[in-house]
Amino acid sequence: MENKQTYTVSIYTENNVGLLNRISGIFLRRHINIESMNISKSEIKSVSRFTLLVKVTESQIKKIIGQVEKQVEVIKAYYHTDENTVYQESCLFKLSSNLLTENDEIQTIINSSKSRVININKDFFVLEKSGAKEEIEELYHTLDQHGIMQFVRSGRIAITKDEMKISTLLSINN
């Protein structure tokens, strides 16, 4: 029995309407939960990049990549293990402003976690933290003891250690 593991999927696409539906549908019909998804500009003009995180077996991810690449507007899709990527997530905490004035420990937590205050007013302040999933989770548990008013985290974004030669591919296809 093949083991499931976390894969980062990077998909380079034309920047067209409707592709999100097509790509997510490929995972949906196989009952595979997308743990996080980020869509943004890529390093190439007019080319978008999807970054997805899924937990599947290697044979599953190979077949999925094949199906993703079949989509007309997908230029190229890749999958990578954690070891082959440099990745980050980002999160925001909304916390009561009273903590800053009444709890000495908070400043220590902010400093030691390498997070930063990006907004402050009389009622609340917003703390931003970027890092690995585990770091964010650790900070969450620490702050949770002091009361978190709101919490949100982004999907994973990742840079692969291997080269992804999209520009070359596009010049071949052009």
């Binding site: 696409t13 034309e14 067209n16 309407v17 409707g18 539906n21 097509r22 549908g25 019909r29 007019s46 190979k62 077949k63 094949g66 199906q67 690449e69 079949k70 007309v72 507007e73 997908v74 230029i75 596009l170 296809n173 052009n174």
Partner: protein, 577 residues
């Protein structure tokens, strides 16, 4: 959009003309040579229909009686001609009624362009009358789709749609056009599309892979081929025949590959899969090399994958990279259009003879004949069999007809027993298994190939799913031969109920109307055959008719299709009774 276009000198539209989006749609169809299309009008597509009225001397629009009929007719047209089929519908229910045909075309790789009207763009997302998100609905079952909201988008999107539908592994494309885009005027000019930046129609054939494949083929003692529709779609029939004849390799087919190789060819060893022939199924698990050509190892073909050709090396000739290793792991994958890859491999393979190996097919074929075929084709019991109807059609047609079958027992009998001399002659719903497919598909096939005889074969169940298309035949005088094999059952389901559900025939028995009277109501010559002695003469009469003809044959109620591989069983566990 990053598409590349090519100019076509003879096209007069190089000069810009100021026209409406609706007229642009019609001109795009003409530019792509789509002069025979199928559809059903409605509110959101009325501007296009108004233009079709104006252009009726150039485009023949066939009014089907249901939008599903339009898609199946477009499929039948495409499968018989090799061209792109076109279906048009309005928004909302008109658009959703296309979905079954689109899904069918997607899984069977049929080139089709569907055009739907849509509510005006300012109403999109407002739950307006007859609004539905057809782009969202059709996404999983289209090769590509797009919603046009500006008339100026029409030429480029249509050019791209036709290019995508027919290139590489073909498939259905849907274009949704808002009503305001149909009314809007713009400067029209048309250029055909020849590439799309992110899309590679077909992989380039690797000489290394071809050499590896040739090496395996030259060393094999017991090679066997399973070929699919890729041979037909790639127009590779000649290359395929030269390949198998030089290497002397027994060749079996999937139901969509049927007719790519003449039935009587000495290397044609029959059908693989659930109701395929005994020899190719059993010997799949005895060959030392299995060569898949333009087929996708469908589960109906392979049975239990863990016991499928495990002893054999596998070569997979395939245009779609996603099919490689999807179901069966290939030792050598030769990616590319089979027309090119087979032409490349031909000089690298040795002339060979596999007489002993072929003899094994012959021996097993003889067993199947004794246990199954003899009684199917030359019955000793009183009741008429589906097999003998096919035998009579073969005699009357000489194997030259296009056979369009529906889905069920009759489909398996048709595929097993119909004889074919020419390619693109077997039209059936393979992957989706769509009951109701045959009648409209036969109409499309006959309209596309009017010089050929087109014989539709359906059961009493599937026939009634699109029976309204008799109206299309009436209106267009389409000379389709309609054969209904009536066993007053949903026969295939009944067979499964008999074998696997202790004969509990839940909702499969049918009380049928007077089919002959219905056909006559549509002014179609019609006869019912209940006795063996009437069969041959009536089939002959039908085939000699120059007009549409309806033939109902009342066959045995509880006849089964054998051989059969049960779900989950191995191909070598195929049952003969």
């Amino acid at each position: 959009m990053n598409t590349k276009t090519q100019t076509k000198p003879e096209i007069a539209s190089k000069q810009k003309i100021h026209i409406s989006g609706a007229e642009a749609v019609v001109r795009c169809l003409l530019e792509e040579g789509a002069d025979l299309i199928y559809g059903y009008p409605g509110g959101a597509i009325m501007p296009v229909y108004d233009e079709l009225y104006k252009y009726q001397d150039k485009i023949n629009h066939v009014l089907t009686r249901h939008e599903q009929g339009a898609t199946h007719a477009a499929q039948g047209f495409a499968r018989a001609t090799g061209k792109v089929g076109v279906a048009i519908a309005t928004s909302g229910p008109g658009a959703t009624n296309l979905i079954t045909g689109i899904a069918d075309a997607q899984i069977d790789s049929t080139p089709m362009v569907c055009i739907t009207g849509q509510v005006a763009s300012h109403l999109l997302g407002s739950d307006a009358f007859q609004e539905t998100d057809i782009v969202g609905i059709s996404t999983p079952v289209t090769k590509w789709n797009y919603q046009i909201t500006k008339a100026s988008e029409i030429p480029e999107i249509f050019a791209k749609a036709f290019y995508l539908a027919k290139s590489g592994r073909p498939g259905p494309v849907l274009i949704d056009i808002t009503k305001d885009a149909q009314f809007e005027t713009f400067d029209f000019e048309y250029e055909k599309c020849s590439s799309v930046r992110s899309y590679k129609a077909k992989p380039e054939v690797s000489l290394e892979d071809v050499k590896s494949a040739a090496s395996l083929i030259n060393r094999a003692k017991k090679p066997m081929i399973v070929f699919g529709q890729g041979v037909i779609l790639g127009q590779a029939e000649e290359e395929f025949r030269a390949f198998i004849e030089k290497a002397d390799i027994p060749s079996a087919w999937t139901i969509l590959g049927l007719s790519a190789l003449p039935t009587d060819h000495e290397l044609n060893v029959g059908m693989v899969g659930m109701h395929g022939n005994y020899a190719p199924n059993v010997l799949t698990n005895e060959c030392d090399l299995l060569i898949a050509v333009g087929m996708r190892f469908d589960d109906r073909v392979t049975g239990d994958l863990s016991r499928y050709a495990k002893q054999a090396k596998i070569i997979h000739f395939e245009i779609d990279p996603a099919e490689i290793d999807k179901n069966v792991k290939a030792d050598v994958a030769v990616l590319g259009d089979v027309k090119e890859s087979l032409a490349q491999i031909l000089p690298l393979i040795n002339e060979n003879k596999h007489d002993q190996w072929l003899e094994e097919f012959t021996k097993l074929e003889a067993i199947e004949f004794e246990k199954v075929k003899k009684e199917d084709l030359y019955p000793t019991k009183d009741g008429l069999t589906m097999g003998e109807v096919l035998k009579e059609i073969n005699i009357a047609s000489g194997g030259d007809a296009i056979i369009v079958s529906d889905v069920g027992q009759h489909q398996m009998f048709a595929c097993r027993y119909a004889k074919f001399n020419k390619t693109k002659s077997n039209i059936t719903s393979g992957g989706l298994g769509t009951m109701g497919f045959a009648l409209p598909a036969a109409i499309g096939a006959k309209m596309g190939m009017p010089e050929r005889e087109v014989v539709m074969i359906a059961g009493d169940g599937g026939y009634q799913m699109t029976i309204q298309e008799l109206g299309t035949i009436l209106q267009n005088k389409t000379a389709v031969k309609i054969v209904v094999l009536n066993n007053e059952f949903l026969g295939m389901v009944r067979q499964w109920q008999q074998l696997f559900f202790d004969k509990r025939y839940a909702s499969t028995e049918m009380t049928n109307p007077d089919f002959v009277a219905i056909a006559k109501g549509y002014s179609i010559d019609a006869k019912r055959v209940t006795k063996r002695e009437e069969l041959a003469s009536t089939v002959k009469e039908m085939m000699e008719s120059k007009e549409a003809y309806f033939l109902e044959v009342c066959v045995e109620k509880e006849n089964n299709v054998f051989p059969m591989i049960e779900t989950g069983a191995s191909v070598s566990d195929i049952r003969l009774e």
